[in-house]
C-alpha cells in the first residue's frame, strides 16, 4: 500500500519506551501509516540490549529489530528537546513516567497530545510500582497458570505451569496501548488530548475474560482439566496437527476422514454429550489412527471435508507457506550487518493490499540524517 493512503498517514507518534509493549504499540501504529520517532538515551534503548541476539550479530536484540523496523531514532535526553518534538506529535507512547502527576504535566503543557502510558501494572493501584517482565505478567493474568492443556499437560503432569512463547502478554499490552491511542485520537476533536493508562496485566487479563466468567459461574478451571475432551494436539507420522470438532458436522467430517470406523459410528456417539463423557477413549482411537498418516495430506483432506485441522508449522515453514507468500504479510527489510531479512509487517490487509515497512530497525540517532517530518535539528545532538 502507498504510504500516502495508509490509514494513519499524517499521524505523528513519539515513542519513549524501553519495554516490548510500548515498542509494539509504536510498531502497530507505524505499520498502519503513522510516522514513529523513537526517543532514546545516549546509550540507546534498553530494548536494543534485550536478549536473545542474532547469532551473526551479537549486539542486536531480536525483539528490537522486529519491533523497531520502520521507525526513526533520535537521541534526546534533555527536556527542551523532548518538548519541541512533542509539540509536533499527536501521540506519545511512554513507559518511563511512573505517576499520573508526571504524565498529566505533559498533557497540560501539550493540550492536544494523546499520552498513552503502558507499564507492567499501570500507573495506579497497589502494584503500580512493582517490577515485572513477561514471565511474571503472563502468570499474573492467569493464562500462565492455565497452560498447558492437552498432550503437553498429559506428558508433563508435574511440571510448573507454562508461559506462551516470547512476549505474549507484553505484545497484548502494546495492542491495548495502540487501541488506547486511536480511541483517544478519535475523541480529540471533542475533548482535546488526554492521558490513557494501560497496564500490561490488565490487557492480558482482558484476554482471560472467559476463564473469569466461568469462575463466576462456579466452574473452576485448571490446566489439568481444561483440555478438549478429544482432539487437540495430535501426533501424526511426521509432525503434529491441531484437531477440533466443535460442531456436529465437524464430528461427522472426522468420522468420514477416518474411513467411518465401527467404533465411531455407534449410535451412542450421535449424542455430543455422550462423546464428551467418553473423550479419553475417543482420543486414544484418534491418536492411534493419526500416527499412520502424514501431516500435509491429512490436513488437506480434512479441510476439504470442512474439518478444522491445522499443521503445527515451525517458524521457517510459516515464512515459506504459500499462503503467507500470497498475502504478502511479510516484507524484506535491510538489517544492518545481516542483509535483507523477511519480517512480519502486519496481520491486516486493507482493500486487499498488504501494509508496508519503510525500513529495517534504525541505527541509533538515524533521524539526524533522515528526519522525515520531525524537527530534529532543534534537538541538541
Amino acid at each position: 500500500m502507498q504510504a500516502a493512503t495508509l490509514p494513519l498517514s499524517g499521524i505523528r507518534v513519539v515513542e519513549r519506551g524501553h519495554g516490548v509493549a510500548a515498542a509494539y504499540a509504536g510498531r502497530l501504529l507505524g505499520t498502519l501509516g503513522a510516522d514513529v520517532l523513537l526517543i532514546e538515551p545516549p546509550g540507546g534503548s534498553a530494548l536494543r540490549r534485550l536478549p536473545p541476539f542474532f547469532a551473526e550479530r551479537s549486539d542486536l536484540g531480536v525483539m528490537f529489530a522486529y519491533l523497531s523496523a520502520g521507525k526513526r531514532s533520535i537521541v534526546c535526553d534533555e527536556a527542551a528537546g523532548l518538548d519541541r518534538l512533542l509539540s509536533e506529535a499527536d501521540v506519545l507512547l511512554d513507559d518511563a513516567l511512573s505517576t499520573v502527576d508526571a504524565t498529566s504535566d505533559l498533557t497540560r503543557s501539550h493540550p492536544d497530545l494523546v499520552v498513552v502510558s503502558v507499564r507492567p501494572f499501570g500507573l495506579t493501584g497497589p502494584k503500580a510500582g512493582w517490577a515485572a517482565s513477561e514471565l511474571n505478567l503472563i502468570h499474573a493474568a492467569s493464562e500462565g497458570f492455565l497452560m498447558p492443556n492437552g498432550l503437553s499437560a498429559e506428558m508433563f503432569p508435574q511440571a510448573p505451569p507454562l508461559k506462551i512463547h516470547g512476549h505474549f502478554a507484553e505484545l497484548q499490552g502494546g495492542t491495548a496501548a495502540a487501541l488506547a491511542a486511536l480511541a483517544a485520537l478519535w475523541a480529540r476533536p471533542a475533548v482535546g488530548g488526554q492521558l490513557a493508562d494501560v497496564s500490561i496485566q490488565d490487557a492480558a487479563v482482558a484476554l482471560a475474560a472467559f476463564a473469569v466468567q466461568r469462575h463466576g459461574d462456579g466452574s473452576v478451571e485448571h490446566r489439568s482439566t481444561r483440555s478438549f475432551r478429544y482432539g487437540g494436539v495430535v501426533e501424526c507420522a511426521d509432525g503434529y496437527v491441531e484437531l477440533l470438532t466443535l460442531e456436529e458436522r465437524q464430528w461427522a467430517a472426522l468420522v468420514e476422514l477416518m474411513g467411518r470406523p465401527g467404533w465411531a459410528t455407534v449410535a451412542r456417539y450421535d449424542d455430543p454429550v455422550e462423546r464428551g463423557l467418553d473423550g479419553p477413549a475417543i482420543n486414544a482411537r484418534i491418536r492411534e489412527w493419526a500416527k499412520q498418516h502424514d501431516v500435509r495430506s491429512l490436513v488437506e483432506r480434512a479441510q476439504a471435508l470442512g474439518l478444522p485441522m491445522a499443521k503445527y508449522d515451525a517458524p521457517r515453514e510459516v515464512l515459506d507457506s504459500p499462503h503467507t507468500l500470497a498475502r504478502g504479510t511479510t516484507a524484506s527489510v535491510e538489517v544492518d550487518g545481516l542483509g535483507p531479512l523477511r519480517i512480519v509487517t502486519s496481520p491486516y490487509l486493507i482493500d486487499g493490499q498488504p501494509l508496508e515497512l519503510r525500513s529495517g530497525p534504525p541505527a541509533l540517532d538515524s533521524a539526524r540524517a533522515d528526519p522525515g517530518p520531525w524537527p530534529v535539528s532543534t534537538v541538541a545532538a
Binding site: L135, A196, F210
Partner: protein
C-alpha cells in the same frame, strides 16, 4: 463521556475473535448492534460438550454492552434489510468464512452501495485471500498456523495449543485496525475493507522467531526459559500447586535476589558472577532458587522479592485473579449482577482515560432480539405493523 461516543457498529460476528473486537469497541463507547438469527444463534449461546461444559458459559464476556436483533439473511428480504441498517452504521463487522456474505448479497461491494464510506472489518482464520483462505479453524489452529503453537511448550515436549486468549488477541488487533480505518475516513472521507487474518496475528506474536528463522537460525520450544536471562523461571512454593515467577537477569536484580534469599555467599561464586555465567549455569541456579522458594508461601516470597526490586509474582489461579485488589482498584475486574445468576466477577476495560472516562461494562448481555423495537422501529423507522409482518414472514427471525 466515552471516547467512541456516536459511532455505530453493525455486528455480524460470532464465536470469540470477532465478538471480542466489537466488545472492545462497545466498551469504549460505540453502539454495537449484534445481528443473529434464531435459526443458528451464536455458538456461544449454546452448550459446548467438547469442552466438557453442558451449558452456555462464555457468551457474556463478548456480548455485554451490545444490542441484539434477529435477522435471517437467507430470507430474500433479509439482505435488503441488512443494507438499510448498514446505511445507518459507521462500521460493519463480520466473521463468516470468506465469501459467505458475498453469496448472500451483503458483501463489501453491496455495503458500499448502502454507505459509500463504510468501514467493513472481516475477521477470519486465514484472511480473505490466499490459497488457505477457505480453511476453517479455531484459536488453537491460529496458533498452529502462525508458528506460536510450535514455539510454545516444554523443552523435549510437543507443541502446545493456545486457547481463547488467541481469539481475543485477534479481536483486539482487529479493533486497532478498525479505529485506524475510521481515522482515515475522517481524514479523507474514504471507507475501506479491513481484512484481519487470525493466523497472521499469531505469526505477529512469533515475529521474533520468524525473523531469526530468516537469519538462518532455528528457534525451538523453551518452556518458561528466556534465552540469555537467568534466573528466569516458575518455582514451587510451600503450598500445593502454587508457583511463583522470578526474573532477575541484570546485576542489580541479582544482587537484590541474593539479599532477599540471604544468600550473598553466592555473589562470589564463579558460576554466577556475570549474567552470561548465570545463564550457562541456570540449572544449578534454579536449584538454589527453588530450594529457597519451596520453604515459604508464594505471597511471602513475592513481597520480599519485590521489596528488593526483583520482578516476581504468584502464578495466579483464576480465583486469585478475580479477587485481586490491584485489578479491582483499576476496574480491570468488576462485579456484575446477572439476572438469575447473581453477582459475579467480570473483566472490564483494559484502558483508563483521564477525560473520556466512562468506559467499561455499562450494560449486561442482551437476550436474543431484545433491541428490535429500537433498531427496526426507532432507528430504521419501520411501523409496528410492518415489523410484525417481517417477524411473521420469518425475516426478523
Amino acid at each position: 463521556m466515552t471516547p467512541l461516543d456516536g459511532l455505530r457498529i453493525l455486528d455480524f460476528t460470532a464465536h470469540a475473535a470477532g465478538p471480542f473486537c466489537t466488545h472492545m469497541l462497545a466498551q469504549l463507547g460505540a453502539e454495537c448492534i449484534k445481528v443473529e438469527t434464531a435459526l443458528r444463534p451464536d455458538i456461544f449461546r449454546r452448550p459446548h460438550p467438547v469442552y466438557g461444559r453442558m451449558h452456555a458459559a462464555t457468551f457474556d464476556q463478548v456480548s455485554s454492552v451490545k444490542r441484539s436483533i434477529r435477522l435471517n439473511l437467507k430470507h430474500r428480504e433479509g439482505p435488503p434489510l441488512a443494507l438499510r441498517l448498514a446505511a445507518l452504521s459507521d462500521v460493519v463487522a463480520e466473521s463468516f468464512r470468506p465469501g459467505v456474505l458475498d453469496r448472500l448479497g451483503v458483501g463489501y461491494a453491496e455495503m458500499r452501495t448502502a454507505r459509500e464510506d463504510i468501514v467493513m472489518v472481516s475477521i477470519s482464520a486465514s484472511g480473505q485471500s490466499g490459497p488457505d483462505s477457505h480453511f476453517s479453524g479455531y484459536a488453537p489452529m491460529f496458533g498452529a498456523w502462525g508458528g506460536l503453537g510450535y514455539l510454545t511448550g516444554y523443552v523435549g515436549g510437543p507443541p502446545t495449543e493456545i486457547r481463547h486468549v488467541m481469539d481475543h488477541a485477534v479481536g483486539m488487533h482487529a479493533a486497532v485496525a478498525t479505529l485506524a480505518a475510521l481515522q482515515r475516513r475522517r481524514a479523507t472521507g474514504c471507507g475501506c475493507h479491513v481484512d484481519v487474518s487470525a493466523r497472521d496475528v499469531a505469526a505477529a506474536f512469533a515475529g521474533d522467531a520468524l525473523l531469526r528463522a530468516d537469519a538462518g537460525e532455528r528457534p525451538e520450544r523453551r518452556g518458561n526459559e528466556h534465552e540469555g536471562i537467568a534466573p528466569h523461571g516458575v518455582y514451587p512454593t510451600a503450598e500445593d500447586d502454587r508457583w511463583i515467577t522470578i526474573v532477575a537477569g541484570g546485576d542489580e536484580a541479582w544482587a537484590g535476589l541474593l539479599e532477599a534469599m540471604h544468600r550473598t555467599d553466592l555473589a562470589g561464586d564463579p558460576r554466577f558472577d556475570t549474567p552470561a555465567a548465570r545463564y550457562r549455569h541456570r540449572e544449578d541456579l534454579d536449584r538454589e532458587v527453588g530450594a529457597w522458594t519451596c520453604r515459604r508461601s508464594g505471597e511471602e516470597s513475592v513481597a520480599l522479592l519485590q521489596s528488593h526490586g526483583v520482578a516476581a509474582h504468584v502464578s495466579w489461579s483464576v480465583a486469585e485473579l478475580a479477587a485481586d485488589e490491584h485489578l479491582r482498584q483499576r476496574a480491570a475486574i468488576v462485579d456484575v449482577d446477572v439476572p438469575g445468576a447473581g453477582v459475579r466477577a467480570a473483566v472490564g476495560s483494559p484502558i483508563r482515560f483521564s477525560t473520556t472516562s466512562e468506559v467499561g461494562l455499562r450494560s449486561g448481555t442482551p437476550e436474543l432480539g431484545e433491541a428490535e423495537e429500537y433498531v427496526y422501529g426507532a432507528l430504521l423507522g419501520l411501523a409496528r405493523r410492518e415489523r410484525e409482518r417481517l417477524v411473521d414472514d420469518g425475516v426478523i427471525h
